[in-house]
Structure formats: C-alpha cells, structure tokens
Point group: C2
Chain length 304, copies 2
Amino acid sequence: MQRVVVTGGAGFIGTYVACKLREHGIETIALDRSGEGADLLRADIRDRDTMRRILQPADAVIHLAVTSNPTTSELDRIRDIEENLVGTLELLDACVDRGVGRFVLSSSGGTVYGIPQTTPIPETHATNPISSHGAMKLAIEKYVQVYGAQFGLSHVILRCANAYGPGQTGALGQGIIGRAILTGLRDETLEIWGDGTAVRDFACVEDVAEAFLLATTTVTAEGVVNIGSGKGTSVNEIIELLNRTTGRPLRVRYTAPRYLDVPASVLDITKASTVLNWRPVTALEDGIERCYAWARSHIHQQAT
Amino acid sequence: MQRVVVTGGAGFIGTYVACKLREHGIETIALDRSGEGADLLRADIRDRDTMRRILQPADAVIHLAVTSNPTTSELDRIRDIEENLVGTLELLDACVDRGVGRFVLSSSGGTVYGIPQTTPIPETHATNPISSHGAMKLAIEKYVQVYGAQFGLSHVILRCANAYGPGQTGALGQGIIGRAILTGLRDETLEIWGDGTAVRDFACVEDVAEAFLLATTTVTAEGVVNIGSGKGTSVNEIIELLNRTTGRPLRVRYTAPRYLDVPASVLDITKASTVLNWRPVTALEDGIERCYAWARSHIHQQAT
C-alpha cells in the first residue's frame, strides 16, 4: 500500500487515521471539505474533477467523510441522502474510473443494526435501523457492496462503535465522553437523553485508527467487520468513571429519551480479531483519563 | 379501509391492484405521473402540495411507483436514488403529515436478497444486493421501517417475485414471459441473457394484486412479506411451456449473462400464508396461456 486517500481527514477519527498511516510510512492524502493545512487538502467528494485528479495514483481510499450525525440526519433526511449517499456514489464512480484497488468504508455500528436481538451483536445480525442516520449508512454499505460485485472493487466496511478519545470536544453534540468532560470543565450541567441506563460500546479512537490501518493493508480482508470494545458500558457508568478521574462529581440532568436511540448497542468483535488480527488495547478507564488530561490542557484555555 | 391511494396506478401491477381494490368496494385513487384517465389521476409523488391534497383523507397508501428497472437503475444510479428513494421519503413525509394510517410498499424480492444462501429464500435471509436496483429498493424498505419506528406508521413491505400476466407487453425490456410472447408473435428472435438456466420465481399478477389487497386490509399484518409462487422455473423452462402453448417453437439467441443478475431467486412464501392468509392460485401453465390469449387479441393488431 503506497498511497492512500482519506476522506473526512480533518474529522475526529480521520485525523487519527491519517496520522497512523503516516507513522507506518504510507503516503497519505487527507481530504476534507472544511479545511486546508500542511497535511490536509480541501476537497469535496462530490467535486468530480478534483476527486479524479486526486485519486489518479491512489491504491486505496478510506472513506470517513460524513456531513451528518444521528441528530442532524433526522432534521433533513433528503439532504442527508444527497450529501452522503449520493456523495459516496460519486466517490465510488471516481474510484472505479481511476482504478483504486481498495475501498475502506466507515459505517455506524451503533445505528445500522437497530434494536439488537442478541448481545453482543455479530456482523450477521439483521440490519433494521430505527434512525435515518442508520438507514443512510446502511444504504451506503449496500452500494459499496454493489460496486464490489459489479466492478470488483475490493472493500472492507468497518461498523464502528462509539469512538472517543483526546481531541473529541463534544462540541457538535456527539461523543458523550468528550461532552461530559467539557461540561465539567465549564462547571455546567450535563444533559443526558433518557435515564442514563442506555448501554453503548466505547472504542478508543487510537484503537479505531489501528483498525482502519489494518483494514487498508490486510489485502485478504473483505466485507463487513465490527470495530468496538466488545463490552457494554452505560452512560451512568461513564459518568461514574469520569467522576473518579476528576475527583468532582458532574452535575447531570436527565431529559426525555430520543426515539431514534436504541436501548443498547454492544458489538461482537470476534471477526475483527480473525480477519484483521485487530484487538482493542485501551482500557476505558485509561482512555477516559487521557481524554481528561487532553481536555484540561486544551479546552480550559479556550473557554472564555 | 375506506379510501386507498395507489401510486404507480397506471403500471402493470398498479392497474391490477386498483382494479382489485375497486372490486372489493374500496374507494381507490390511482395516481401515475405518466397518465390521466377516468380512473387515474396524473400526479408525481415528489409534488408536495398535490400529494398533501390527495392524501388528506386517505386511510392507506400502496406505493408501487418506480421510475427504474434493474437495467436502467445501473445506467444512472444517482438519478435512480433521487427519483425513487428521495421520492419515497417525500411521499412518507406527506403520509405522516396527513395521518395516513397504513403504508404498503412494493419491494423487489428478486433483487434485495442478492445471491441466495438458501432456497427458497425466507424474509430473514441476509440482504446483500448485487444490483443498484436492489440496493435502492432495500434503502426504501429501511426508510419505511424508520418511519414506522419513529412515527408509528403501520406498514407492510411486499417483496414481490417476477410478476407476469395479461397486459405485460415486455416492451420496456422487463418480464421475460411478456417479452417472449411478443417476440414470437412478431416472428422475431428472443435474446436471453445467459444460457437460460437462471431460475426465477414467477407470480401471476392477479395473485400479486390479491396480496396487495390483503396487505392493505389485514391490519394485524406488519413488516416484510415475500410474495411469489414459492417455485423456481428456469428461463428455458418458460420457453418450453410457451412453445407448448403456442405450438410453434420460439427462436432464441443466448447472449452474455448480465453481471447484475443473480443465478437463482425463489422466494419462501410461508409467511404470506400465515400473516396475510395469502396463497398463489394460478398455475404457471394457465397463466402463460392467459398471457398468450391476451397478447394475440391485443398486440397482434398493434404490430405494424
């Protein structure tokens, strides 16, 4: 693997993925529609000419770009489809056109399955999302598979659990850990949807980035792979762990649960160890500590 | 069920469905973007104001409208998504807005499953389409389910096998039975993709229309239901049956198989009998005879 293009390269996971690839000596072109920098190229995946120019010599594409999250997908489903599903089709066309050999998709382990019938959830579990974000991500998965079947585009679809880690500010309403830390540092009250018993699978972003590296370089890997911790942690347990780390209890206000949230989501990560030889290495306690350390040195200064 | 709106009401299946509903004393508003007549209203599902006006007093919507088929979906995937997936979201929004109580979707039993792992295929089978048409139809299914989960929209999704019957001319490149009969009557040569061993599940359109009636009126029914004959018939067997009916062998030319066609597709229809109390009643031989009789009295005259 010589040259890899990363879409959404300025995002939370994208930044780590680009970093990880470069550490491993892979020439990495990180794209983002929102920014430009020394290691970042401003480009929109829907800009055909630009994408064809960028992809000309690429061996693989890691597609992390997404303009929505579970909250915003519901607010404008049609825009969500046009930007993300249609955007991915345009990217796939460009990949096929330019002979890109491998496509690694970031999918949403927390939303594509819907309400779990078994826990932890294996990749073979039925996919019946109850949120538009899940339906959109699942549709993208299916089209990637169609391109695989029709054009021989080799692909891995990583269904990622809730990624967290240093750098996640929670400012966009996503990432309960980052949001809780930020709220605490600002001495504000954390709003939690529901009663805090909702169980999620939290994966440290560094482990997730390693999975993207392996999915890109393990040429024998193909198909859908769950990436998570394999363990369930309730939102209340996260708050407890965080209180233990900070030494001061966070003020919490419970609000109505959201209709689009599933009660529990824990991924079975057996396949990832078999197919990618990947295992998560960061304990949740350690990860939360690192988040807190990062936030104290970064966010506190920025707070006005 | 007092008043039902049928989209795609001028289409092959839609015509039969509207007819069947009216036979059962249900007030039926058949819509189609392509035509207008005594029993047909010209309307595009993407026209918000018109749809809201039409749906105002509707108890149920049967959504059969689709602007693509497996061939044309591949030619312009993005247009396919915009017209059909986005179009369905607009229709669903209008339904929720107008308090429509029930939504019956026509899905594609022949494409949403992809390459079957078991035969016949039950509704619980994995859905990994290898064609864009299948991916598009599956995405529509998932959004219908999201509207069910979020807005309580009661729905039945009928995954229909290959419908055939009087009225299907095969002129649009769809429907091997209609196309074969037309070709024979014109004394032309039938082109078959592949070697004719591809196995399909052929369901007589009158039986299919009965299933749509039952899916609409059986208020206890919910979720995905296969509609087919439950039996597999190869394309070559169809030609044989047809030759026996007409008494003169059809000239056939085999061409390269299409990458988007699955080798076999036979649906398990057990659930339809349980949930809808529906069973197909037309034997394939009888159905083909009726198609031929219809075609002789209709198509021959039109041929120039």
